[in-house]
Symmetry: C2
Subunit: 451 residues, 2 copies
Amino acid sequence: MLGARCLFRALRFCSSVPCPRHKPSSKLSVRDALRSQNTSGERVKVQGWIRSVRSQKEVLFLHVNDGSSLESLQVVTDSSFDSKELVFGSSVEVQGQLVKSPSKRQNVELKAEKIEVIGNCDAKAFPIKYKERHPLEYLRKYPHLRCRTNVLGSILRIRSEATAAIHSFFKPSSKIKVPEENFFNVPAFLTVSGQLHLEVMSGAFTQVFTFGPTFRAENSQSRRHLAEFYMVEAEICFAENLQNLMQVIEDLFKATTMIILSNCPEDVELCHKFIAPGHKDRLEHMLKNNFLIISYMEAIEILKKASQNFTFTPEVWGVDLQTEHEKYLVKHCGNIPVFVTNYPLALKPFYMRDNEDGPQHTVAAVDLLVPVVGELFGGSLREERYHILEQRLARLGLTEVYQWYLDLRRFGSVPHGGFGMGFERYLQCILGIDNIKDVIPFPRFTHSCIL
Amino acid sequence: MLGARCLFRALRFCSSVPCPRHKPSSKLSVRDALRSQNTSGERVKVQGWIRSVRSQKEVLFLHVNDGSSLESLQVVTDSSFDSKELVFGSSVEVQGQLVKSPSKRQNVELKAEKIEVIGNCDAKAFPIKYKERHPLEYLRKYPHLRCRTNVLGSILRIRSEATAAIHSFFKPSSKIKVPEENFFNVPAFLTVSGQLHLEVMSGAFTQVFTFGPTFRAENSQSRRHLAEFYMVEAEICFAENLQNLMQVIEDLFKATTMIILSNCPEDVELCHKFIAPGHKDRLEHMLKNNFLIISYMEAIEILKKASQNFTFTPEVWGVDLQTEHEKYLVKHCGNIPVFVTNYPLALKPFYMRDNEDGPQHTVAAVDLLVPVVGELFGGSLREERYHILEQRLARLGLTEVYQWYLDLRRFGSVPHGGFGMGFERYLQCILGIDNIKDVIPFPRFTHSCIL
């Protein structure tokens, strides 16, 4: 390292005096710097936050992260650069040369010629401590700062990637060749949230989707409920049976997950390694098997025979499934996601399609139950037959309020169906994260709206 | 046409009896059918709504549309197929052969072998009348049905394309080669709405954006305000000056518009032809010129010298610009979008960066004014200096409420800035649409929430 040290001194001198021989440094993200093929001394500028400082006798090592990747960029410089301001959490701008690293830990490192502290960090007051692995519950108290940790950084990058993957599933960019098996091969339409409104749109566009925030005043302190969550909803015209919907749901789950695994391998690995050990295998198991299908009636039979003691006894046909039942059913099905179909009409909203199947009257509804969270998707065929819908609305005294909805069946009605997926629950399911508050930037729930 | 007629009869017979020789028809969208290269009699199935019916002596022509494109697919069949149910607005499923059309009006037509009416349309009650060009104000009364018209169909397809283009501007798919000039070359992050929350995220990720619904209880009946609108917001770390922000704003406007013009030419043409004649040239003029930059002070000088009579006299420095002023300034600048910079501190929120420029105290704010709507973007550098921010919050009595926001400046603060763009106003601006209620699926505004 002696040669390197001498070089540092020479460069340091250079950096303190304007150095007209040099081209201006090009600005690089940490991610791009780490992936750079050009390590023959390209002059670059990197900006970010210090994640670690290690001072040796003559050399100073910093790790700088800017959120573009889990891995930080190693910055190497003369120890005389060291200062009290170069601490964990402070923001810096580093200029220097990108070179091949002599260490096996990384391919590339940045030989600093100039390090400028942009913003100091009051380390004593900073709730995130150097080299400490804080529990997720602790970090939840600092919604404005927790994104500075490795684990939240990873979760939020995965969330961003999942968002993009869902958009591209429904609306492949025209620049990308659409895979044959992609269901949504006509332009899908992004609209405001709400299934009934999607149905309006599906009266003119045959496949529509929406993805946005949804608000529910649920008075629940559970680990799978929020007052504000994100929902993906799709509505498909000319859907003839639940099988059509289940195919899209299974494709959406698997295609989105494959894109995330392929584009964010390090971030997913961090979650699977430190938060949910063993979950990698469980996820692979979900992806390689066909999802199962059972009817609500079969589900009740399975629950009745269960040796487990439930808080809510599932012995009555016509009672809704509780989270404990959902989780039992998934386990019973070998931890493979399972569709439960044909629920009692009395349990479900007026718009679900009547199966007209005799005494145990059901509707063409479907839920997908998955490991970790239980219910992930809910959907149904919609009642497209004017007279049946009219009768049901009349019985509920809702005819007037929903005249516009009845209109959709008067003017060129089509069989159709759709579903919704809770986006945060999806992230919980693939990452194995127990609490929904850890997969959304700013969780809002009952009696809590910190930010 | 005689040969064709005989063929129809033969085929009709075939369709009424199961016909095992035929492969099952593959389902195609109207858009894909119109673009099909395979017109040597490929057997297909198309589903949609009837847009026109023309019955000749021996041949029946239908136009079927499914929302996937402005153009409908011509269906040709034996006039004996005609029935009272085949009317404007009803939904149908048509099976037949895709062939080259003998007419010059279209490349492809569908020789029907089987036409099934899926849902009837009560033409008398249907508020949308055959061959009538309804005014936009009339259609606004039927938010649940207006998407069945050509014009709303076009606007909503453009809206969908614009949404995708904005996402791809900020977060290019990893499958697409990122153009060199793309500013957001690190993974951008989609989060909940709200600039202050974006600033939290920009404390860990250097470039972040969000795109979603925003709610304002503005008691305004104007043609450019809604109670619920969509907003694109971005926050950029290490932004050094307003020039950095203005460059991203201009790139975003131009890149998004170019993608829309390239991907939806027919839909845009419809708007420019029937709703806003002359707007095509105005838009080209905006795209080919560099946006202009004037300061707030220069803007006031221009307004003072104006010969126009304003409702609000703009003679006092320190007064906010009104819509009439914004529109005048754009016209004064030759209908080129114009950035107005450095507004009086007293007019702007506490988080905007103090220019510390003496008696006429300004902040580093910027608005972009454009034809049709006036203000389209608003942004600023943010006050990243702890002590200045603390003083301003103290003066407003807000220190306690915004302690979390101050924290962001205590722990590795960086210079940063950002902006927001009203998505509906953007659509108004590029399409020349006068009323904001026509560019959103379900407009919600003061005293009106029909759906």
